[in-house]
Symmetry: C2
Subunit: 147 residues, 2 copies
Amino acid sequence: MTTKQERDEYIIIVGCGRLGSHLARLLSKARKSVVVIDKNEYAFHRLSNDFSGFTLEADAIEIDSLLRAKIDKADVVVATTDDDNTNVMIAQIAKTIYHVPKVIARLFEPSRQQIYEQLDIETLCPTILSAEALRNNIIGEETEDLK
Amino acid sequence: MTTKQERDEYIIIVGCGRLGSHLARLLSKARKSVVVIDKNEYAFHRLSNDFSGFTLEADAIEIDSLLRAKIDKADVVVATTDDDNTNVMIAQIAKTIYHVPKVIARLFEPSRQQIYEQLDIETLCPTILSAEALRNNIIGEETEDLK
């Protein structure tokens, strides 16, 4: 039996939309072990031809699906579905039940980020990230303290 | 009459969705002159109370709307509507007809970014930005050359 330290890093991506599939491609290129879960098999067409990981057609808010994806062995879980509540629920399950070392939930709604960070859930909000990138592009990074 | 150099930087944001309204807030906080255009007046409810710029209810793919927003005096135009074609069209109008010094179009579809960059249109794709931020968060930035 191997321990987490002996294995390659194992990453579960929930949701194979634009973000999930693009992340899967980047991690696959970096030679990471990746499994992508989506409840719609058609979503996997977004994965590029050079994606070398696995896909699992399943509803990730069901514990059984997460076990099939071997969540108990995962080093990282990223929840990227198009529903904030689903992403946060999956993140909480991964973190509190399966003690996954790194868990990140994608958030659509910027105003929610602070709430979840108070719950100690790491989030990524593409809107906030993009607005800050645009702001820095337009007026420079010196105003970072104004956000 | 004043020249561009004598005035404060004047920024037009097209689209008052999550990204447009959040960017408006950041630029407004940085004391920039901002006008936000959206064809749906209700969209302006997304602007925070501390937004100090102007709003214009209009369809920005009509030249007349852009003139009402004083595009001929703009230093920056950012197109953030929920439609990639609209954003690119507005960017092209701003750049080629009104010679706006800085023009950025938000893109939903990552695969289009390369095409528009070949057309010399500056783009921001939240999906690519977010996937790269997640990748760097998960495995570090040393794999930057693998993207």
